[in-house]
Symmetry: C2
Subunit: 105 residues, 2 copies
């Protein structure tokens, strides 16, 4: 059975304090044990036409969907979401059980 | 130093042979050594409003950007991309060096 993933892709508003927001997210996942792992990245524009304005990807991994649900309703997450939403111009969220085709060696 | 990630989120056209396409992608990554790991998933609609019609996420991991560039120009990838593009209603691609904040234990 694969992990459960919470994927966020975002474009921040002009002038948003992106660095501060990312630090806030790093703090958030450090505080909440249910988050098994967390990686993020900023797109390199290697295929700029296809990124459609989105610049950042945030990927959280949970052991199961229950842990993800617990994370969603955690007070620290609820609080952070307000800050995050205010800084976002556009966003897509996908939540899915991961199918590990070629697992990391 | 983190890995290099290639993230694709997609909405397939009505009637697209999604299962077949996913199998094609699984075959592709099995054939190309430069792809270090590959996971995908189908969104559960837990936050339906925020998925904005996108249904699938595909995440490939490479040891470095050079391996990703080699993958992009690999003939099997070029061939598969044609099939994939024809089945897609909308898509976003993000390519980024991953910042591993909370690495998997």
């Amino acid at each position: 059975m694969g992990d459960f993933k919470h994927l966020v892709i975002a474009k921040f508003k002009e002038g948003a304090a992106v660095e501060e927001i990312v630090k806030g997210m790093e703090k958030l996942v450090a505080e909440i044990d249910a988050v098994k792992s967390f990686e993020w990245g900023q797109d390199l524009e290697s295929q700029e036409m296809l990124r459609q304005g989105f610049t950042h990807a945030f990927l959280m991994t949970f052991n199961n969907q229950g842990d993800f649900t617990a994370f969603l309703s955690h007070p620290n997450h609820v609080e952070f979401s307000t800050t995050f939403s205010a800084a976002i111009e556009k966003i897509v969220l996908l939540d899915f059980p991961a199918v590990p085709v070629k697992p990391p060696k």
